[in-house]
Each structure stands twice: as structure tokens, then as C-alpha cells.
Symmetry: C2
Subunit: 361 residues, 2 copies
């Protein structure tokens, strides 16, 4: 087991990464405050891992909240089911919430923890690659709104993140690939050496080689932890973690949640950001080709869906959180391994990217 610290002053917490961690009950118990516990999970994950977590909690008799699986259920309405369950069980403000599942569960349980009685402790136990390398670390929580993704939420840090790499053994291929998109992102925005490592080791990752996976997850979390420690509330450098996300959120919202997986939309969005960066003279054609090739090898889409017209795309991008004072801010690549946030992207270049980087309709 490796332990990574996320340094946020009095809100600091450890990230544990290793094989078989769900079997180590003391790890979980160490971070439970108070005498009550509630586990929030979904209908897919519950049959796989809920009993394993419950087993360690014994006398604590956890409240169990099982939500429907899928991004389309990441709503204020479904969130309310968590509050219903906590209140029906008379959970007080010292109840610890455990998020057991992927990014949707982590985001919803985290926002429920932030809001229940104005804040109770919570622990992230991510069970998908995407949530292990991205959403479980850093305290972003929230739900979607029909008009935009993650529009309602809170910055709220967990007490600990417990990543059991064994949970990836049950992850469907498409979801696994979706997680790889965020892994590749760290190489693109700040870790060119890791990008080269990924080019050399992608086949091992796709074969779910345990050692390669543990390395990639640890290095991804380290990148994420460094960025979050430097800028918890995204007033600066943290925004670079959104590479591909303005494009990607537009795809997710435009198609309807759940049509494309988050990582799939981000993958296409990163290729679009790379294309736009090339048009601005920042990336070479060879670099964009390397990026597109690696993402394609990871079995991820490299073009936006043909059903979204450039005009609709622009409309969808304008409600993204990355818009400030009405100007569109984008994360682009100055070099392979260096991201910048800019609000000075010429509209013509953006439209050229939107027009050319689509699948045939």
C-alpha cells in the first residue's frame, strides 16, 4: 500500500492506494468520526462490494443508501434520497458518509455530506478507474442540472480516499477506457514524462497489468494532489485540470447524460483542444498526432459526435462554468505537457476546430 498526502492545511487528508484495501477494515474505521455511518452506493456496485465494507463496520450498523446507477441519475432529486434515508434513520451531524462507487456516487455522496446538517464527515472509496484517478481526489462534489453539468455543488474535502485497485477487475472495458482519458490528461497538462511512459505502457494498462495500473493511478493522484494543494478552489492553476472538459461537457449535455461516458467525452474534448492549440501555433502537427494516437489506442473517441452542429456546440459551451464575465475561457496546450487557460482564443479558430473535429453525422 502507498499513502499519498493531500496537503490542504487543516483539511489535509491521505490517499491510500493498493491491492486488497477493502479487506483492511482498520483503514476505514480510522477515519470514521462519531458513532454512526452511512454507506452511499449504487445498484451495480452494491452486489460486488457492499458486504465487504459492511463487514468491517460491525457494531456501527451502517445506514445503506443504494441509488440507481448512471450519470443521468446525478440530479438534485436523486440526491434527496440520501437525505431521506439519513433523516429516516435519525442520523445526527456526526454521522460519517462513505461513498462507495464511481464518480457519480462520489460526487453525490460528497455533496450530500457537504449539505447534510450543513456538513458531516465523509470518506471516498472509489471503485472505477476514473474516480480513482480524478473525481475522488480534490473535494469537488455536486449534481447536474438539465442546463449544465455539475452546476450545483460544493468544494468539500473527504477525510480520506481509499483506492483498492482490485475493484478494477470488475470494471467493464468501456468504463475502464473512460478512466484512461483522465490518466492521459495528466501527461498532457503537466507531466510529459508520464505521457511518454503511457505511450510505452498502454498495452499493459489495457491488459490490466496490476503493477502498471498501480503505477499509473499513483502518478495520476500525485499530479492531482499537487494541483489541488496549490489551488483548492480553482482560482488559478486547478483550471488546467479541465483540459477537454469545456468541449466534453458540451458533448455530454448535448447528447443527454449517459449517452457518452464522461471520459469518452473528455477524450474527444482533449483531441479538440489539441487541434485548436495547433491552429494557434502552439502544438506541432506531430504532437497532435501523438496525442490523437494515444487516445485512439486507449479505445476512446477522438471526434465529437456528428449529431452536434458547431452552432449547437457553441451554445452549449457558453453555459459551462469556465465562462467568466461572458467570455469563453478554454484550457489549451502551449506544449505537450504544459496547459494554459486562455480567454483570447479567436472565434474563427474555435469554429474551425468545431467544424473539422466531428464524426460524420
Amino acid at each position: 500500500m502507498k499513502t499519498l498526502p493531500l496537503d490542504l492545511g487543516e483539511r489535509s487528508y491521505p490517499i491510500y492506494i493498493g491491492s486488497g484495501l477493502l479487506g483492511q477494515g482498520d483503514l476505514l474505521k480510522r477515519h470514521i468520526a462519531g458513532s454512526r455511518v452511512a454507506i452511499v452506493t449504487n445498484a451495480t456496485v452494491a452486489p460486488l462490494y457492499l458486504a465487504k465494507v459492511r463487514e468491517h463496520l460491525g457494531a456501527l450498523q451502517p445506514v445503506e443508501v443504494i441509488l440507481p446507477d448512471g450519470e443521468e441519475h446525478k440530479t438534485l432529486e436523486i440526491l434527496n434520497r440520501i437525505f431521506d434515508a439519513l433523516l429516516a434513520a435519525r442520523c445526527d451531524r456526526r454521522t460519517t458518509l462513505i461513498a462507495l462507487g464511481g464518480g457519480v456516487i462520489g460526487d453525490m455522496a460528497g455533496f450530500a455530506a457537504a449539505s447534510y446538517q450543513r456538513g458531516v464527515p465523509f470518506i471516498q472509496v472509489p471503485t472505477t478507474l476514473l474516480s480513482q484517478v480524478d473525481s475522488s481526489v480534490g473535494g469537488k462534489t455536486g449534481v447536474n442540472h438539465p442546463l449544465g453539468k455539475n452546476m450545483i455543488g460544493a468544494f468539500y474535502q473527504p477525510r480520506a480516499v481509499i483506492i483498492d485497485t482490485d475493484t478494477l477487475n470488475t470494471l467493464p472495458d468501456r468504463e475502464f477506457a473512460s478512466g484512461l482519458a483522465e490518466v492521459i490528461k495528466y501527461g498532457l497538462i503537466r507531466d510529459p514524462e508520464f505521457f511518454a511512459w503511457l505511450e510505452a505502457n498502454l498495452d499493459k494498462l489495457l491488459a490490466r497489468d496490476a503493477e502498471a495500473l498501480a503505477y499509473a493511478i499513483h502518478r495520476s493522484c500525485r499530479n492531482k494532489a499537487e494541483v489541488v494543494a496549490a489551488d483548492e478552489r480553482e482560482s488559478g492553476v486547478r483550471a488546467t485540470l479541465n483540459l477537454g472538459h469545456t468541449f466534453g461537457h458540451a458533448i455530454e449535455t448535448g447528447l443527454g447524460y449517459g449517452e457518452w461516458l464522461h471520459g469518452e467525452a473528455i477524450a474527444a474534448g482533449m483531441v479538440m483542444a489539441a487541434d485548436l492549440s495547433r491552429r494557434l501555433g502552439w502544438l506541432t502537427a506531430a504532437e497532435t498526432a501523438r496525442i490523437e494516437k494515444l487516445i485512439r489506442r486507449a479505445r476512446l473517441p477522438v471526434r465529437a459526435p456528428g449529431s452536434l452542429s458547431p452552432a449547437r456546440f457553441l451554445e452549449l459551451m457558453a453555459v459551462d462554468k469556465k465562462v467568466l464575465d461572458g467570455r469563453l475561457r478554454l484550457v489549451l496546450l502551449k506544449h505537450l505537457g504544459e496547459a494554459v487557460v486562455t480567454d483570447a482564443c479567436p472565434r474563427a479558430e474555435l469554429e474551425a476546430t468545431l467544424a473539422s473535429m466531428r464524426e460524420a453525422a
Copy 2:
């Protein structure tokens, strides 16, 4: 105009108190960050004061969200209307929310500000006595749940609180009295000199004498600001501000929101807390008589509704936020002017208070 600072480090803000402040546009504008503004108000307050606030914002063209009036609308569902409006108007994360109204509006707009895009700035412009002396100061925001009051929310501080005492001229008598309950509370929990002042000046307040009102509001806010500065997140002394609230919330929830006003329920709750404090040997009979007399003179209830049985009352109290690890914590009075939080109240004494402090059914 008087300015009171609320000292919370980097989250510090000013509380402005005075006559005609809604007419001073620079006061509002000084605290608006970014180039967009949204005003959240209700159908009762909008015809009275919305134009006055809008007038100063001119070119900023505020988004206006007018919610139905009343505690029964303080729900997650109605909260969502604020998000709908902000997203439909494409408000970005630098939009400033202005809460124009009473406690319900302040709590909902504040929670919307805490949650919209994970946090946007907001300004409190309270228009009722209760919100001016209590809920607008200190950053408690949230909505109710059918199983409990204020169960979903956030600690989220405004950028400023602007209290125009002229708005009390349009406040109905019953709501005015409801605000007096919280004014009296400060005397009871930590300011015995203020309690004596209230005994001497209550008739002036009831006649809405401008000078007496300004004094009472300022002194109440000063008490609140001192307590909040010492304990922002209610891990200690801030809990004493909840005198009467565990009883009061049980009344509000038991009767259904909106049946009794918040201050009315708190008033009866404070008399119940005083009675229980007397049974524990802390208050003298003479002191409880003074407390009950002042609250009665303020035209507030001094008994719980007869329709709530002691058994039902106990059940309702057990889901209050003041319950920790399954033990009931109550705010009681050690002396007139000194509150304590205790989880060691004998059940027999509590039941004696519940049985005796009811209206005839």
C-alpha cells in the same frame, strides 16, 4: 448609519444598519464582484422593494427570481427555481446573488449562492426584524426537509449585510413580534443588561420607535457577530444561539411549516427551556416569571401547542441537529443572561416540562 464588523479572517464582512440604506446604491455596488447580479426575493417583498434595489443596478440588468412567500416553500424543489433562473440567464460563477427579503429568502438565496457552480458571492438585504437580528448574520443557509428543519444547507458567509430599518414599517405585527423573540434571546443567553433594557423599552419597540429599534437591532447584531466570530461552525459556543430552538423546531415540524412563525415557536421554546432550567435548580421561579412575562408582553406564545403530545414532541426532538451520537443536547439557562449546552438533562425533568408547558388541547 452604523457599521459593525463581523471578524472571520478572510471571510470577514461588514453589517450596515440604518434608515434609508436601500436608497444608497453605492453601498450595494461596493460589494458586487463580477459584472452580473441576480436578486432573489419573494412575491410579498418584490412589490415593496424590488424596484428600489433594481434602480441602483442600472446597467447591470439583474436577473430577478421571485419565489412564493412562506416557510412552507423553503424546500429543495423551490431552491431549484433559483438554479433554473441563473442557468437560463447563463449566469457565470462571478455572478453576485442578492437576498432581498426575510429569513426564508436569505437562507435559500444563501444556499443557492453556496451551491451554484460550487459557490458565488452573495449579499444579504434582510427586510424583516427576525432576519435583521438573526438569520442574515453568520452564514447559516439552507432549506427544510419534511423530516426536519434546516436539515440541508451550508455554512456560507455573505460579502455584506445591509439592514435598512425603514423596511420594518411595512412588516405585519405578527412577523414583527416573531423577530422580537430572537432579540429577547440575546438578553437571555449572554446580555442580561440588554434583557433589562428590553423590559424597560419593550413598549417603544412595539410602537416601532425608530431610535429604540435601531438600538435593539444593533445590539442584537453585535451579540450575534461576537458569537459567530468565536465559533463560526458551531462546534462550541455558537450552539447557545439555539436557545429554545430544539423545542421550537419540534413545534414547527410537528404543526407543519408556516402554521406558527419561526419566532413564535422559538418564543414558546425559550419559555420551555427556562422552565426546564428552573426544574434543574438553575433559574429561580422569579427569573422564569420575568422571562415569561417579557415574552408574553411581546405578544408571543409562551406555551407549546396543545395538539402536540409530549410523546410526539420527544420523537420530533430526536431528529434535531442538536442531537449528537443519539444523546439529546439542549441549550438551557444557568442564569438569566448565561446559557449552557448540556446533554445531561434527566428525562423525567424534560417530560415534566413537556407535560406542563402546553396550551389546553
